[in-house]
Structures are given as structure tokens and as C-alpha cells.
């Protein structure tokens, strides 16, 4: 069953079309990662799916309910961590969690207990009684994420959840996300860390300029880029060139032939990474930002 379906979603801001017909399906109990360059429209799409923003055209359902017509039903089935911190700076970490617990429908005692559990799981026990305004960026982010896990809703939206987190916190969050999906929760996240998408996501979509330019599992996307990547480095180990090949001997010959006079360089072959996918499918000159095109005149 699909936990999220998106059909032909369009959205413009002041004459600029930010989403230009998005179609997506996300199966229940899976992690789906949205990738895309800055300004691609990822946050806007999450805004539409979480009922914050109204789409201009198209339909979307979350946990079986239409986001435009049944927003209250959708809200009962989601939690959201936005790109900007959504915490109360004046309150302490514990007060934030308790307040959000109460607002999520927990009783006073349950909200207090849940707050303490999450403070512990997100390494915020020591800071629990301090005002959030005094937290470091990463601590604030952790609190923000903890808040959206107060309940385990059917669908969780995370907009760049691990930005600003240290390695340990990032690993811990990945574990939390895996535990969520094991319990049947669907997670839709955006990220700029391709390794994160590789590790975590069951499926990945790459968005650019408001359209999906690639979609599939990490392996499918890598296969699209080609066979192996030929890496050429000099004697000191500095990478001179990275050449995608189609994985055949003929393809490798062609790549080597293009190198010219580099007999002293060393070569190695590696499998394509998601970075290669990202660079291959995004940044096409035809769809460059208008401002960039203008400066060339």
C-alpha cells in the first residue's frame, strides 16, 4: 500500500513555477529520500504534503487522506521536522517536549514520561533544564527531531534532518528512523548527504527545478550512470579525472583514449556512487537558474 501518493503537483510563488508536475509513490513502512540542488523545491513539496502550503494543481494523499480536502485527518497521521528549527527558544528542552506532548494529545503524566525518554535517547538529559535559546545548533536540531518522534505516527516528514548533527548523533538518528520503519511508519526525508540516502533510503527521487529527474533504488540509479568509474590520479595521489564508463572493455578503451598523454598516471576502477548519479542527472544547462543565464549576456 502506498502511504504517500503525489500526482501532478504544481506550485508557483509570484509567477515563478517552483514545482512543475511532481509524481511520486511511497510505499508504507519504507524510507524515501528526496534529493536535489538548493532551490529544487524539496521543502515546498514537504510543505504541501504536511498541509502547510496549498498546491496550485494536482493531488496528494498521505496515509490515505487527501491533503487539500482532509487536512485534519492528515494532521492526525503525520509529524514534521522542518528545515528551520521549530522549537520554543524561551522554554527549556524538557518544557518543549512536554508542551508538544500535550498538544499531541498525551495526558500530563504521559507527556512528562515521554519527554524524559526522548531526552535520554537524544542525549539531552544534561541540557533538559536549560533554555533552548542557550543550546548549540546541533542540540536544537536534536530536540527538534525528538519532538517529532513524541508519537510514532504513520508518516514522518524530515527536512534535512541530519544537517548540523555530529557523526554520533547522525548514526543515532539513522537507528531511530530504522526503528520507526520497522514499526510500520513511513519516512519521507530530504537530504544533501548522498551517503545518507544510500544507507537509509529504500527509494530515492532526485528533483531539479520542480520536476523528478530520476527515481529508483540506490542501485537502480547507480546502474543508470553506467558501469564503472575510471579514476585517474598522479604520482602524489591527487585525482586528475573521474571518467564514467559503460562497464565494457570498449568503453574503458574509449575512456583511456580520451586521456591523451598521461602515461605516468595511475588508474583505478570503482563503482559509481550516488554523487555520480547526482552530478549526472542534475545541473543540465538547459534548466539553469534564470539569474545565472542572465549574467552571461
Amino acid at each position: 500500500m502506498d502511504a504517500i501518493t503525489v500526482r501532478g503537483i504544481r506550485k508557483s510563488f509570484g509567477g515563478t513555477e517552483v514545482l512543475r508536475g511532481i509524481d511520486l509513490d511511497v510505499s508504507a513502512g519504507t524510507v524515501f529520500a528526496l534529493l536535489g540542488p538548493n532551490g529544487a523545491g524539496k521543502t515546498t513539496l514537504l510543505g504541501i504534503l504536511s498541509t502547510l502550503v496549498a498546491a496550485d494543481a494536482g493531488t496528494a494523499t498521505v496515509a490515505g487522506h487527501d491533503v487539500a480536502h482532509e487536512p485534519e485527518q492528515v494532521k492526525r497521521r503525520i509529524s514534521v521536522t522542518g528545515q528551520a528549527a521549530a522549537v520554543d527558544q524561551v522554554l527549556t528542552g524538557r518544557e518543549n517536549l512536554r508542551m508538544m506532548g500535550r498538544l499531541s494529545g498525551l495526558g500530563r503524566a504521559d507527556a512528562a514520561r515521554r519527554a524524559d525518554e526522548l531526552l535520554d535517547r537524544f542525549g539531552l538529559v544534561e541540557a533538559a533544564g536549560k533554555r533552548v535559546g542557550t543550546y548549540s545548533g546541533g542540540m536544537r536540531r536534536r530536540l527538534d527531531l525528538a519532538i517529532s518522534l513524541i508519537l510514532a505516527p504513520p508518516v514522518v516528514f524530515l527536512d534535512e534532518p541530519t544537517t548540523g548533527l555530529d557523526t554520533r548523533s547522525r548514526q543515532a538518528l539513522w537507528d531511530e528512523i530504522r526503528a520507526l520503519t520497522a514499526n510500520g511508519t513511513t519516512v519521507l526525508l530530504t537530504t544533501q548527504y548522498l551517503e545518507e540516502a544510500d544507507q537509509l533510503a529504500d527509494r530515492i527521487a532526485v528533483i531539479e527545478h520542480g520536476v523528478v529527474v530520476a527515481e529508483g533504488t540506490a542501485d537502480e540509479l547507480k546502474a543508470r550512470v553506467g558501469g564503472e568509474v575510471l579514476t585517474v590520479s598522479d604520482a602524489a595521489g591527487a585525482v586528475l579525472a573521474e571518467l564514467p564508463t559503460d562497464g565494457t572493455v570498449a568503453g574503458l578503451r574509449r575512456a583511456l583514449a580520451g586521456l591523451g598523454n598521461a602515461d605516468a598516471a595511475s588508474v583505478s576502477l570503482r563503482s559509481p556512487s550516488l554523487d555520480d548519479v547526482f552530478l549526472a542527472v542534475t545541473g543540465s544547462p538547459a534548466t539553469r537558474e534564470p539569474e545565472l543565464a542572465l549574467t552571461k549576456d
Binding site: 500500500m1 502511504a3 510505499s27 508504507a28 513502512g29 519504507t30 510543505g47 504536511s50 498541509t51 502547510l52 502550503v53 496549498a54 496515509a63 485534519e72 485527518q73 494532521k75 492526525r76 497521521r77 503525520i78 509529524s79 514534521v80 522542518g82 528545515q83 528551520a84 528549527a85 521549530a86 522549537v87 520554543d88 527558544q89 524561551v90 522554554l91 518544557e95 508542551m99 508538544m100 500535550r102 498538544l103 499531541s104 494529545g105 498525551l106 533554555r131 519532538i147 508519537l151 510514532a152 505516527p153 504513520p154 520503519t181 520497522a182 514499526n183 510500520g184 511508519t185 513511513t186
Partner: protein, 270 residues
């Protein structure tokens, strides 16, 4: 209902039961009260400024305005309204601050009426300003204010002041929503601060030039001040009482409706 799920995965968790409206209300009021206690500057300003004005008017100008004394009795009702205005103005900043942070987006994606966050600020403002008003009246009594009011008149005055605070707080909440940032909210709020000066708060309107007098006689604060003065000191109220109630109801309606419309219109924008 049978649902198909991916193999190896549990069925989707059950949807959350939405919180009761009363507990959402209580939670947001509690939040705003904590904000007040943690940022006491607003409270201090709401009490200190009117108190200083009262000392200024009664002790410094009082002798010149009313050489025979007794000015304190005249000026206290105006100071009470001034006090309520100062205290309520901070709501515009509170609301604008909330609207520019990500926390409002979170509230809007939860299964409850997100507008209650504004109601929380309004109720906290009401409590804050009633406390401030009580303190200001206490100071007035120390300075020689001698009202003739009995218990009924005190209760009536308290109710009218509470209604006025509520009404003006809603207007400031709407200003906070209309402003693009907290600093702008603060600036717009300053406008309303001038209203008490062009009224019967500090000097009787018949001492003013013709054109100003017309404004002062017909502006909303004058009947409210005259009603409070009448209740506390037994001066003639006449139709002022009805005008006072009418103006408060009008402010309340405009503020509440505008707040609602602006809050909806600002969804997804910060």
C-alpha cells in the same frame, strides 16, 4: 479493514487521537505565562511606565494643572487605561515573534486549532495587565487617591478594565500578525499608545482647542475613561457607559476577526 504492507513490515501505526480543545487552550496559556515570567521586561515596563507617569502627573504637573489639589483623583482612570495599553502592546511583539519562527509551522501541522497559540498570548496579557493595573491602583492609593466607590462599583470597574484589556490585546495581536517582523510590530503598536493623550484622561476636553476637542470627545477612550471615573468617583456617567461597552465590543470584534483572517492567510509563509 485489510491493508497490504510490504513484507517484513508491521502495519502502519494508528492515527493519533487529537487533544481536547480545553487542554490545547490550557497548554498555550501556560506557555505564554512562562514566556512572561522568563522575559520580565515587558511586565516591568507595563507597571513602571504608568507608575512613573502617575507620579509625574500628580506630583510634578499636578500643582500647575489643579492648584487646589485633587488632580490625582482626576488622573487615575486615565493612567489605568494607559497602563493596560502599554502592557497589551507587547502582545504584538510576542505574536510577530512566533509567526517568524519555525514553531508556528509545527503547530499548524498538529491536529489542533493552531490559532489557539494567539489566544494563549491574549489570555496571558489579560492576567499580566490586571496584575499591573492592581499595582498601579495601589500606588495611586498611596499617593492620595481617594475613590468613593463601593464594592459594586469596584467590580464594575474591574470588569470594564478587563474587557478593555481583552479588546485592545486582540487588536495588538492582529497588529502582530500584520507586521512582517517583531520590530515592525513594536513600531505599529506605538501608534495606539498616543490615544490616551488625546482624550479626557489628563485634562478635561473643554480645555482643548476646538478641533482637538472634537477628536477627544468622540474618540473611543474618552467614554471608557469617563465611565471608570464615574464608577470610582461618582461623577456623572450618562451615556458614556454604553459608548464604553460599544467601543470595547467593536475593538474586540475587529481584533478577533482580523486575527483569524490574518492567521489563516499567513499559513506556510514566514
Amino acid at each position: 479493514m485489510t491493508t497490504l504492507t510490504a513484507p517484513g513490515h508491521a502495519a502502519a501505526p494508528a492515527p493519533a487521537a487529537p487533544p481536547r480543545a480545553a487542554s490545547v487552550f490550557a497548554t498555550f496559556v501556560g506557555r505564554s505565562m512562562l514566556h512572561t515570567l522568563r522575559t520580565p521586561d515587558a511586565l516591568v515596563m507595563a507597571i513602571a511606565l504608568p507608575t512613573m507617569l502617575m507620579v509625574l502627573f500628580t506630583q510634578v504637573f499636578g500643582g500647575a494643572i489643579a492648584p487646589g489639589g485633587g488632580y490625582v483623583d482626576y488622573v487615575v482612570p486615565g493612567i489605568i487605561l494607559l497602563c493596560a495599553g502599554y502592557g497589551a502592546a507587547s502582545v504584538a511583539v510576542d505574536v510577530a515573534t512566533d509567526m517568524t519562527t519555525g514553531v508556528i509551522d509545527r503547530f499548524r501541522t498538529m491536529p489542533m486549532r493552531a490559532e489557539t497559540v494567539i489566544t494563549g498570548h491574549v489570555v496571558a496579557s489579560l492576567v499580566r495587565n490586571l496584575v499591573a493595573t492592581a499595582i498601579v491602583i495601589g500606588v495611586a492609593l498611596l499617593l492620595g487617591f481617594r475613590p468613593s466607590a463601593g464594592p459594586i462599583e469596584w467590580i464594575g470597574m474591574g470588569a470594564l478594565v478587563a474587557l478593555y484589556i481583552l479588546a485592545i490585546t486582540w487588536v495588538f495581536a492582529a497588529i502582530g500578525l500584520a507586521a512582517s517582523n517583531p520590530e515592525a510590530a513594536n513600531g505599529y503598536g506605538f501608534f495606539l499608545m498616543f490615544l490616551p493623550y488625546v482624550s479626557s484622561a489628563f485634562v478635561p476636553v473643554d480645555t482643548m482647542p476646538e478641533w482637538l476637542r472634537w477628536i477627544a470627545e468622540n474618540q473611543p477612550l474618552t467614554p471608557i475613561i469617563e465611565t471608570i471615573r464615574g464608577l470610582l468617583l461618582g461623577t456623572y456617567i450618562g451615556t458614556s457607559g454604553w459608548w464604553a461597552l460599544g467601543w470595547c465590543a467593536a475593538f474586540l470584534a475587529v481584533g478577533a476577526v482580523l486575527t483569524r483572517v490574518l492567521f489563516r492567510a499567513k499559513a506556510g509563509r514566514r
